[in-house]
C-alpha cells in the first residue's frame, strides 16, 4: 500500500471511530471558588462552568459532555504531575508610619526564608502597601521603601538578590478598605509572594 492510500485508510478508520481531536475539561479550582471556561470555535461556543464539565471535538464540531476524575487521570496524569508548586503568599505588618516590622512579622521571616530555600528555582516578589494616611505620592514612595527594606533584609539573611523583585503599590490596594487619611494597621504591610 502506498503512503497516500495508507493515510486515506487511516483517516477512514479514525472517522469510523468517531475520532476525538481535541478535548477541554474544567477542573475543580484549588480554593473552591467558582470558575468557568468558554470554548469558542468558528461555529459557536460551549460554556464549561461545573467541575469536570468538558468538551470534545470530533467531525469538526465541539460537543459538551461530563468528564470524570478517572478520565482526567487517565489522559492528563503526565501534565498534572508536572504542575509547579503553587505560589505561596505571606503578609508582614509594620509599626505606624515607618519601616519597622511588628514583632510577629519579624518571626514570620524565618518561615519565609525556609520556603524560598526549599522550592526549586524559587522567585520572590516583594510588594509594599501603605494605609491611606498621607498623599498618594508619599505612599507610593513609602510602599516602595518598605518593599526594598524587606528585600534587603532577605538579602542579608542569605537569599540571593537576583531571585527577588521589589515593587510598591502605595495605598491603591488596601487589605481593609477605608476612607482617606484613616490609620489602618492592616494596610501597612508587605506581601511576599514565593513561586
Amino acid at each position: 500500500m502506498n503512503k497516500a492510500k495508507l493515510s486515506l485508510a487511516l483517516a477512514g478508520l479514525l472517522v469510523l471511530a468517531g475520532c476525538t481531536t481535541e478535548r477541554v475539561v474544567l477542573l475543580p479550582s484549588a480554593n473552591g471558588a467558582s470558575s468557568a471556561v468558554v470554548v469558542r470555535d468558528a461555529k459557536g461556543e460551549v460554556l464549561l462552568d461545573k467541575p469536570y464539565a468538558a468538551v470534545k471535538r470530533s467531525l469538526d464540531a465541539n460537543t459538551g459532555y461530563q468528564s470524570s476524575p478517572d478520565e482526567v487521570k487517565a489522559r492528563f496524569a503526565g501534565a498534572l504531575a508536572a504542575q509547579p508548586a503553587r505560589p505561596a503568599s505571606y503578609v508582614l505588618y509594620f509599626e505606624a508610619g515607618g519601616n519597622v516590622l511588628t514583632p510577629e512579622s519579624q518571626s514570620a521571616l524565618t518561615t519565609i526564608r525556609q520556603e524560598i530555600a526549599e522550592r526549586a528555582a524559587s522567585e520572590v516578589m516583594v510588594i509594599g502597601h501603605t494605609d491611606r494616611v498621607g498623599s498618594v505620592e508619599d505612599n507610593d514612595r513609602l510602599s516602595q521603601k518598605r518593599a526594598e527594606g524587606l528585600r534587603d533584609l532577605l538579602v542579608e539573611s542569605g537569599v540571593p538578590a537576583e531571585k527577588m523583585e521589589a515593587v510598591g503599590r502605595g495605598e491603591r490596594d488596601p487589605l481593609v478598605p477605608t476612607a482617606d487619611e484613616v490609620d489602618e494597621p492592616k494596610n501597612r504591610r508587605v506581601e511576599i509572594s514565593v513561586r
Binding site: T20, P28, V38, V39, R57, R75, F76, A81, Q83, A121
Partner: protein, 152 residues
C-alpha cells in the same frame, strides 16, 4: 494586496509599540522537568532545565518520556505532558499596576493550566487556544488535549 500590507504594518507596529509583548520578553521560569524537554528560541532548540527562563515566542516541546512545569510571572501555572508542543505567543505583566495580557497555544499533546493574576483581574486579556478553538478563562483550572503530530 491591501490586506497583506496591513498585516505587515500590524506586525511592524506590534514589534515597535512600547509596552507590548515582544519576542524575548521574560514570561516565566521552568520549575519542573522530567525526561526530554526542549525550548526552541530564535530557531534554536536547547535542552530545558529547572531554572531556565521562559520568554515570549518560546516553543516548549516534550518528548515521549517528557513533561514540564512552568510558572509565568503573573503566577499562572502551566504544565505539559508527553509529546506536547506549547507556544508562549504573547505575555506581558506589569507588577506595579498588575495589568497584562497573555496568549498561549497548545499545538499538540496535553496541557494543564491554573490561571494567575492577569486572568483574575482582566480575564478578557487571557486566551489559550488549540488549532481550532479559543478558550476564554474566568479564574480557572483546566486541562486541554490536542491529538495529532503537528510540529509547528
Amino acid at each position: 494586496m491591501i490586506k497583506t500590507h496591513w498585516a505587515a504594518l500590524c506586525v511592524l507596529a506590534a514589534t515597535i509599540a512600547p509596552g507590548m509583548a515582544a519576542a524575548g520578553d521574560a514570561a516565566g521560569m521552568v520549575k519542573v522537568v522530567k525526561g526530554t524537554v526542549s525550548i526552541e528560541r530564535n530557531g534554536k532548540r536547547q535542552t530545558a532545565g529547572v531554572g531556565m527562563p521562559v520568554e515570549v515566542a518560546d516553543r516548549i516541546r516534550t518528548g515521549a518520556d517528557g513533561s514540564v512545569g512552568v510558572t509565568l510571572r503573573d503566577n499562572t501555572l502551566l504544565s505539559a505532558g508527553p509529546n506536547s508542543l506549547v507556544v508562549i505567543e504573547k505575555f506581558a505583566f506589569d507588577n506595579t499596576t498588575q495589568d497584562g495580557h497573555m496568549s498561549v497555544g497548545i499545538r499538540r499533546g496535553t496541557l494543564s493550566v491554573a490561571s494567575g493574576k492577569i486572568a483574575k483581574r482582566t480575564p478578557e486579556s487571557v486566551d489559550f487556544h488549540t488549532p481550532t478553538s479559543v478558550l476564554g478563562v474566568r479564574g480557572t483550572e483546566f486541562v486541554v488535549e490536542v491529538a495529532g503530530d503537528r510540529d509547528e
